[in-house]
C-alpha cells in the first residue's frame, strides 16, 4: 500500500478512539454524578455505556497506531509538530490500554474510590488524546 493511502487510513481510524474515550468519560461521569432512578437502571446503563466505549476505544487505538506508524515509516518521535503529537500520544495510548484492561477485569465491582481514580485517569487520557489529535491536525495543516 502507498504512503498516501496509509495517511488517509490514519486520518480515518484516529478519530474513533478519540471520540470513544471522550464518550466513555461523559457516560461514566453521568453514571457517577446523576441520581439513580427507582428501577436502578440509569446508573447501570451509563456505566455499561462507559465500559463498552472505553473497550472499543482501546481496540480502535490499535488501528490508529499501526496506520500512523506505517505512514511515518516507524518514527516514534520525529520532530516539530510530529514530536509534539507523539509526546501526548504515547502516554495516552498506554493509559488507554491500562484503563481498558482495568475496566475489563473489575467490571461493576469497583469501589467508589477506585472508580474515582479510574475516572481521573480516563479524563486525563481523553485530554491527552485530544491534545495529540490537535497536534496531528497541526501537522496536517502546517507541516
Amino acid at each position: 500500500m502507498t504512503n498516501a493511502l496509509w495517511a488517509k487510513m490514519h486520518g480515518g481510524t484516529t478519530h474513533f478512539p478519540i471520540a470513544l474515550v471522550m464518550a466513555s468519560v461523559v457516560f461514566d461521569l453521568a453514571g457517577f454524578l446523576l441520581p439513580d432512578n427507582p428501577g436502578k437502571t440509569r446508573r447501570a446503563g451509563f456505566q455499561a455505556a462507559g465500559f463498552y466505549t472505553i473497550v472499543l476505544a482501546a481496540l480502535g487505538a490499535f488501528g490508529a497506531v499501526v496506520s500512523g506508524l506505517v505512514m511515518s515509516q516507524g518514527q516514534l518521535w520525529g520532530r516539530g509538530n510530529l514530536a509534539r503529537h507523539h509526546v501526548f500520544l504515547w502516554p495516552a495510548f498506554g493509559l488507554l490500554i491500562g484503563l481498558a484492561n482495568w475496566r475489563l477485569v473489575v467490571r461493576d465491582r469497583a469501589s467508589p474510590l477506585g472508580f474515582k481514580i479510574y475516572l481521573a485517569g480516563s479524563t486525563l487520557t481523553a485530554v491527552l488524546m485530544a491534545t495529540a489529535g490537535y497536534w496531528g491536525g497541526e501537522l496536517l495543516l502546517n507541516g
Binding site: T2, N3, A4, A7, K8, V65, L69, V70, S72, Q73, G74, Q75, L76, R79, G80, N81, W90, F93, G94, L95, I97, G98, L99, A100, N101, W102, R103, L104, V105, V106, R109, A110, S111, G114, L140, L141, N142, G143
Partner: protein, 130 residues
C-alpha cells in the same frame, strides 16, 4: 489483594507490554517500510524513465514522500494537489511557497523544514521532468 489492585497491575503490565512491543517493533517496521518505499521510488523513477536519484535529490525525495505525497501523489503527478512535474517557477518562488504555504490550499512548512531540507526538496523537484 483486592480485585481492583489486581486489575491495576494487569492494566499496567498490559500497557507497558504493548508500548514495549510498539517501541521494540518500530525499528523493524522502519527498515521494512523504508525498503518498500525505496522499491516503490525505484519503480516510479523507472516508469518515468528518469535517472536514479542521488545525494540531495534522494534526500529530497524522502522528505517529499513523508510530507508532500499525501496531496501531490506518490509519483508527484498530482492528487489533491497539483502535479509537480516541469515546474516553471524559480527556486526562490518555490521556497517561499514551501515555507509559507498557500492560504486555504497548502500548509506552511517553514517551521518544519530548514534551509538544507528545502534545498533537498528543490533538488528533487528539479528532477521531475516529463
Amino acid at each position: 489483594m483486592s480485585i481492583e489492585a489486581k486489575a491495576a497491575l494487569l492494566g499496567s503490565a498490559a500497557a507497558l507490554a504493548l508500548l514495549g512491543v510498539t517501541f521494540g517493533l518500530s525499528p523493524f517496521l522502519q527498515s521494512a517500510t523504508v525498503a518498500a518505499s525505496k522499491e516503490q521510488s525505484t519503480n516510479i523513477i523507472s516508469a518515468a524513465a528518469s535517472p536514479a536519484l542521488e545525494g540531495e535529490a534522494k534526500r529530497g525525495h524522502s522528505l517529499f514522500d513523508h510530507n508532500c505525497a499525501h496531496c501531490h501523489g506518490e509519483d508527484a503527478r498530482g492528487d489533491e494537489g497539483p502535479s509537480l512535474y516541469d515546474l516553471k517557477k524559480t527556486d526562490g518562488r518555490i521556497t517561499r511557497i514551501i515555507e509559507g504555504g498557500i492560504k486555504g490550499e497548502m500548509p506552511r512548512f517553514g517551521t518544519k523544514f530548514n534551509d538544507a531540507d528545502i534545498q533537498a526538496l528543490l533538488a528533487y523537484l528539479r528532477t521531475l521532468k516529463s
